[in-house]
């Protein structure tokens, strides 16, 4: 067997095996829909029947859409513009952020409210440790949905909330650990702090929560977290299509590969591509048959 043939066979085998591996291997990156582990958002997406979007270009019919954004990558100017247009035309944006680029979005949207970006710590009313604060104070609109207890995970707080409607507060025992020494110092602000709020912009609505971890698999089904999230989404209107933006999340090569494979599959399943594949297979088969003298 010639070296060229060996290399070709090896390449084909590796390619096929790798594609199969990529297709069936679960993602392990935070907030990825394909991630079944504790830090994925598979459960949330399954429960809400949300659709993942790779780009904000696909936003259409904003009046019927609720968009969830976790801005862990910086937004380009054209993406910010798309977000603003989306809300102005009646869309509902659920912005979940703690230490990401949420403030640049808020600034662009022209609202005063900001994310503190200092860790919100509650040493008493917490789940297991002080970085997972329990929230028990809600506005009537959230309370009436049956939300009694929500647990956050390494969250921050909202500040400058004078011109927004606050929907939930941390406990009075919580504080912002500004110097991150895990202790309450005399200069550090003490609770209660707003952790969720809404503000109407144009025809649409911006809903803000200071912890994106609410949606991960290990948190979404804890206490009333899921009801809380759906309550937030439904503030913009019930029965809306839910889109989950992953274009501003850090993705591993596996996630990129998976996304690429899905794109390829979609392309190949189109009629033209199917026809081309049939044609190529036919030619290859004919050549093989003729070569072997069959």
């Amino acid at each position: 067997m010639k070296l060229r043939s060996i290399f070709l066979i090896a390449l084909v085998v590796v390619l096929v095996a790798s594609l199969v591996s990529v297709w069936y291997t679960s993602s392990f990156q935070d907030f990825m829909a394909g991630n079944r582990m504790w830090n994925g958002v598979r459960d949330f997406q399954r429960h809400t029947e949300g659709k993942t979007i790779e780009s904000l270009d696909v936003l259409a019919s904003p009046r019927d859409v609720s968009l969830i954004v976790i801005p862990y990558l910086e937004f380009a100017d054209n993406d910010l513009l798309k977000l603003k247009d989306f809300i102005d035309q009646g869309g509902t944006l659920l912005l979940l952020d703690d230490y990401g680029y949420g403030n640049s979005i808020l600034k662009y949207l022209g609202v005063d409210v900001r994310l503190s970006q200092s860790p919100l710590i509650d040493p008493l009313f917490c789940y297991k440790n002080q970085f997972l604060p329990k929230v028990t104070d809600f506005s009537p609109s959230i309370k009436e949905k049956g939300v009694r207890l929500v647990v956050l995970n390494h969250a921050t707080a909202l500040v400058a909330t004078d011109n927004v409607e606050v929907l939930a507060w941390s406990s009075p025992d919580s504080y912002l650990d500004v110097n991150e020494n895990r202790e309450l110092d005399t200069t550090e602000p003490k609770g209660a702090f707003p952790i969720a709020a809404k503000v109407e912009i144009g025809k649409g609505m911006l809903i803000l929560a200071s912890d994106p971890s609410l949606v991960i698999n290990s948190m979404v089904n804890r206490y009333d977290n899921f009801v809380f999230l759906t309550s937030l989404i439904e503030l913009g209107g019930a029965d809306r299509e839910m889109l989950f933006d992953v274009s501003h999340l850090t993705q591993t090569p596996l996630d990129v590969s998976k996304a690429g494979l899905i794109t390829v599959r979609d392309v190949l399943s189109a009629p033209y591509a199917s026809l081309a594949i049939v044609f190529v297979i036919f030619i290859a088969a004919s050549r093989f048959i003729l070569k072997t003298g069959g």
Binding site: V14, A17, L132, L149, S171, A238, I289
Partner: protein
């Protein structure tokens, strides 16, 4: 060896590929942690600080704040071993905060009662205060015990006094001590009011209290009460009379307070015979009865001489007209449409009030006013932008004289009507061509007039509007595409003009057949499958034939025929065999060996096989004869494919090789 190399290559390539494809990025970690694997951490300092703040609220007589703070305690992150104790602490402190307020208020009230010599009420109230003091003491002890239990769990007794946890714990204990001091103070105040200290835990408390209080020499008074009439309509005048006596003697010129439901409504003075009389109006309260009482409180010269007295309670039956109101409204209504509410009033045997005013409210906002008598209907226009869901319609009528206010409300559900589409469309659509789609749309409210319809099928699109009857009819021109045949969605989107109708998007599957593409595809298949394969077969045969005749090697002299395939070689060899020249003789010898070789090894020369290829195939079965045979083959090739002139020496060598091979093959 080759296999090993292949496996190694496969393994290394897969490792590299998968490492690249599945590697984690070198990014900062996301700030979150897996709650399942977190080891619980408890913060005693925070717990004790929170408890201290709650006790502060107790000391500040703020029971609502205490209830709010302690209501959150079940959510606190505390070690499971002290959960019960901490919940007990929360319950006892919450109760304690309310009890201390009651004690404080009770002591103030007792002081007033004793001031007016109200002995009997004082005894009752004193017992209540004592009961509260005992309960508060129990609550305090429960709280102290709970704190002590938690202290053991947090190992507080073994901590240095200056440690923050110890200090926080000591603060709670100190504040609970303050609550204890407060309770002691209350007990002292009680003794002071009673004039002497008593055993508040005594089983003879009633007698004890009567004894303590009776030491004071008051003269009892008696106050009677008559109300006429016994029942009255709201707004009517009633007469209240009675007599104030003490030991059978009338008390003249004393102030008598008339109370209606514990609120002073009038004050009169007794006459020379101790009688009093007051005329007052029944207030417009529209409640079925009023409690009427007369109260005498000794003041100035009577204070310290007479005991206060309160008359027996008289329950005045209050009458008024009441209408039973019923409302009828559609349980489901639509944005932008009128909601018709029908209201009916039933006065029963009461006279009907003409021209009564009603105000209509939608979710608490005034909508309009209507004047009606017994029955009316009201149209309320709902805004096209009204939120979908439940809304409350309320009708209110203010009180008018003897007529009590009337109020009725109902919940309506505002929803959009779902359009229903009846449609005819072909299940198989040919491309190119025209497809006719027709149908009608209506909802539970009526037909959808002039609704925008957007129909799309495989890239073809049609926009139209429904007629006044809600019907539509359209032919969609199917343009050429690259599709062959297959199922395609026929998507119909309906956008109604009316705000009360919902939009509708439906999708139906149709079989799309592109006859042109299918034809082309068939032609291609036929071309490749029949015509081309035949042609290729013919060409291959020609090619094979040509290969047997072709001259291949351009480097050899023109007079030497390049031989490559076996038939040609054999043909050439046969010619050389007849030749008596040296070259021909050598080849003749080789042919004899070759034939012998084929017989001996059963390896036959294949078409297109060269001498060297045959030698290669045969040498596997020749063993030690392989070397001379290969050597002989190379010699013959050299004679055949070059201008080399055969020497005598080479003839000798060929003879020796032939002999050697013949000998070996025997």
């Amino acid at each position: 060896m080759m296999k090993k190399r292949l496996y190694l290559l496969l393994l290394s390539m897969m490792t590299v590929f998968n490492a690249v494809a599945m590697s984690a990025p070198a990014l900062a970690s996301i700030p979150q942690e897996n709650p399942e694997v977190i080891v619980p951490e408890f913060n005693g300092i925070s717990l004790y600080r929170y408890c201290s703040e709650s006790i502060d609220s107790v000391l500040n007589f703020n029971p609502d704040m205490v209830a709010l703070q302690m209501g959150k305690i079940p959510y606190a992150n505390v070690p499971p071993s002290i959960t019960v104790a901490i919940n007990d602490f929360a319950d006892s402190v919450t109760h304690l905060s309310r009890t201390t307020v009651s004690i404080d208020e009770g002591l103030n009230e007792l002081r007033e009662l004793l001031l007016y010599s109200r002995l009997h009420e004082s005894v009752i109230l004193t017992k209540e205060i004592i009961s509260n003091l005992l309960v508060a003491d129990i609550d305090l002890k429960t709280a102290e015990r709970a704190v002590a239990i938690s202290g053991v769990t947090f190992n507080v007794p073994n901590l240095p006094v200056q440690s923050r946890l110890r200090m926080a714990y000591d603060e709670v204990v100190r504040k609970l001590g303050q609550v204890g001091e407060l309770l002691n103070l209350y007990q002292e105040r009680l003794y002071n009011l009673l004039g002497s200290s008593i055993d508040i835990r005594s089983s003879e408390l009633d007698n004890l209290l009567s004894e303590v209080l009776s030491v004071k020499s008051y003269i009892a008074t008696d106050l009677s009460l008559n109300v006429n009439p016994r029942s009255a309509y709201v707004g009517d005048e009633i007469s209240v009379t009675g007599k104030l006596e003490s030991a059978g003697k009338p008390l003249a010129g004393r102030e008598i307070k008339i109370l209606l439901n514990n609120v002073q409504s009038a004050m009169v003075e007794t006459d020379g015979n101790g009688y009093y009389e007051a005329n007052l109006f029944v207030p417009y309260l529209y409640i079925p009865e009023l409690r009427v009482q007369a109260l005498y409180l000794p003041v100035s010269k009577d204070s310290g001489v007479y005991l206060s007295s309160i008359s027996p309670e008289f329950r005045l039956k209050v009458m008024y007209y009441e209408a039973k109101v019923t409302i009828g409204a559609d349980s489901k209504t639509y944005p932008g449409r009128d909601l018709v509410c029908s209201v009916k009033l039933d006065y029963g045997s009461a006279p009907v009030l003409a021209d009564r005013k009603f105000e209509a409210y939608l979710d608490g906002e005034f909508v309009r006013e209507i004047t009606a008598t017994e029955e009316f209907s009201l149209k309320i226009s709902l805004s096209p932008d009204i939120n979908l869901g439940e809304h409350t319609i309320t009708f209110l009528s203010s009180p008018a004289g003897r007529y009590a206010p009337a109020e009725v409300d109902t919940v309506i559900n505002v929803a959009k009507a779902v359009p229903v589409l009846t449609m005819k469309f072909p299940t198989v659509v040919l491309v190119p061509g025209q497809t006719k789609v027709e149908g009608a749309i209506r909802s539970e409210v009526g037909v959808l007039k002039n609704a925008n319809i957007d129909i799309s099928l495989a890239g073809a699109n049609a926009k139209l509007n429904t007629t006044a009857e809600g019907a539509f009819d359209v032919s969609i021109k199917m343009r050429m595409g690259f599709e062959l045949l297959g199922s395609q969605p026929l998507v119909i989107q309906i956008s109604p003009q009316e705000p009360w109708n919902d939009t509708l998007v439906i999708s139906r599957k149709v079989l799309l057949v592109n006859i042109v593409n299918c034809g082309i595809f068939m032609v291609v298949v036929l071309f490749f499958g029949v015509f081309l394969s035949r042609r290729l077969k013919g060409q291959i045969e020609k090619y094979l034939k040509r290969r047997t005749q072709d001259v291949v090697v351009p480097l050899v002299p023109e007079d030497v025929t390049p031989v490559y395939s076996m038939p040609v070689v054999l043909q050439e060899l046969s010619k050389q065999e007849e030749n008596t020249e040296p070259r021909g003789r050598v080849i003749s010898l080789y042919i004899s060996v070759l034939r012998l070789m084929q017989r001996a090894t059963s390896v036959l020369m294949k078409p297109n096989q060269t001498l060297r290829e045959f030698a290669s195939d045969a040498q596997k079965k020749l063993g030690p004869l392989a070397m001379p045979f290969v050597e002989f083959t190379k010699m013959v090739e050299r004679f055949l494919y070059s201008r080399h002139q055969v020497t005598d020496k080479e003839i000798e060598e060929s003879k020796q090789l032939t002999a050697e091979l013949q000998e070996g093959l025997k």
